[in-house]
């Protein structure tokens, strides 16, 4: 069976998201916003208390990532960027997806049951960018549009990135409840039983 490769643009519609199945490869054009541990916590607290974020994430993609950046002639440039371990955001991702209307979560390593529930209920996908391939990522970033919450530190800030054909993004958890990693790990456990 061949690989299904899709090119998508933000804002992503519910229809775009529903089309995606675990195992599909996506190249994304549009807006990606970085958010990791502290940004997740802060965003959820703000939205729960009736506040708002510095930008609307509706239809956009968030990226569990903390970049290496440099400021040149007053403009930010991303030197290297790649995903961090997503499970650290598991506790807050459900609320984050519910409250922001984000349509794609990009990270690495997979996520848990609460996130799977949110993906189904609020029509969103979880995709993996190959961890460690950070040098080449800036070639797919056209511009740093803005940065918010820099007071949290460079890795933790919200970096708003304009990207073109950003990927490969492997759809790991789709909006239908499928999880690619679950099958691989179930098989690994079976092999382990037979080996030991």
């Amino acid at each position: 069976m061949g690989l299904r490769v899709l090119k998508l643009k933000t804002p992503l519609s519910d229809n775009d998201v529903r089309t995606l199945k675990a195992g599909d490869v996506v190249y994304l054009t549009g807006i990606i916003v970085t958010a990791r541990d502290l940004a997740h916590k802060k965003a959820v607290e703000l939205l729960k208390s009736g506040g708002s974020l510095p930008l609307s994430l509706r239809g956009l993609a968030i990226f569990h990532a903390g970049p290496i950046v440099r400021k040149e002639d007053g403009k930010w440039r991303i030197i290297a960027i790649g995903p961090t371990t997503s499970t650290r955001m598991e506790d807050v991702e459900y609320d984050f997806i519910r409250l922001t209307g984000v349509k794609m979560v990009i990270g690495k390593g997979g996520m848990g049951e609460k996130t799977r529930k949110a993906l189904k209920e609020y029509c969103c996908v979880y995709a993996v960018y190959p961890g460690g391939a950070a040098a080449i990522a800036p070639t797919m970033i056209e511009e740093v549009i803005d940065v918010y919450w820099l007071e949290l530190g460079v890795p933790e800030a919200l970096w708003v990135l304009k990207v073109r054909d950003f990927g490969p993004l492997i759809t790991v958890m789709d909006s239908h409840g499928n999880n690619l990693y679950e099958d691989v790990m179930r098989n690994a456990r079976e092999v382990y039983e037979s080996l030991t």
């Binding site: 790649g82 460690g132 391939a133 950070a134 099958d183 098989n187 382990y192 030991t196």
Partner: protein, 289 residues
Amino acid sequence: MVRDIVRRLVFYAVTRVPRDVYNALRRALVEETNDIARTCLEFMVKNIEYAMRNKIPVCQDTGVLYFDLVVGEDFPVKSKLKNIIYDVVRELTLEGLLRPNAVHPFTNVNSGDNTGRFVPWIDYSLVEGSDLKVSVIVRGGGSEFVAKLYTIPPVKGLNAVRKAVLEAIIDAGPKPCPPVIVGVGIGATASIALKLAQKALFRKIGVRHPDKRVAEFEENLLHDINKLGIGVHGFGGKTTALDVKVEYSHRHVALYSVGVVLSCWALRRASAIIHGDGKVEYDGDEVWD
């Protein structure tokens, strides 16, 4: 002079992977039939080549730097080595090559320059002669997150060691950015086991332990790990680990302490020998273009 050499080693370590790791990834790509794994591997190889050409870090997590120094008793510089290393790490962070990763655990304040209490970490050993060997390895957060320690009663023996390592790999799953390089330390105490596991990761891919029994254990373990089929970034396929490195000390009569330290596919290390007369020999597989 030592300063320039350390600087060069750190630069080479973070902006590429050693040639043995690069070749192992390319071999994995040739053998792979899983489409998603292939897509990722191709992209990872392209990323290494891009990083080398453009002198930028392979991965944004430039980790915590771990140095191993083998100091000849007649080498002219000894106690000053720590300051030299700390200065270089500080400098390279401020120049934007290294991401500031050193955080005080009680205040959560990032030192901003990758130096702090006990970091970068330096292991020293003292030997005869007038040479200094400097090795550095980059330890990223993703693979450190899944390190393991096991204590095994002697009646269960080596087979339980093998089981423990397989368990550690399954537990880690896609998290440490496989294909991994597996460091296993079998030691007399918990701390010795983990230290040896880390030390083992300095050995090149494909180079087996000089003791034949250990070498065989490594090969069998590598074979078993790859049977698990976790694959590149957890997408399945033929290569879950690029290699397994085992190091051991004599154990305590009462136990096997087993440390498992994993490296992501982007194992980053570099080393050089500085001779007493000033001649420098870089490792050609690590300092390469």
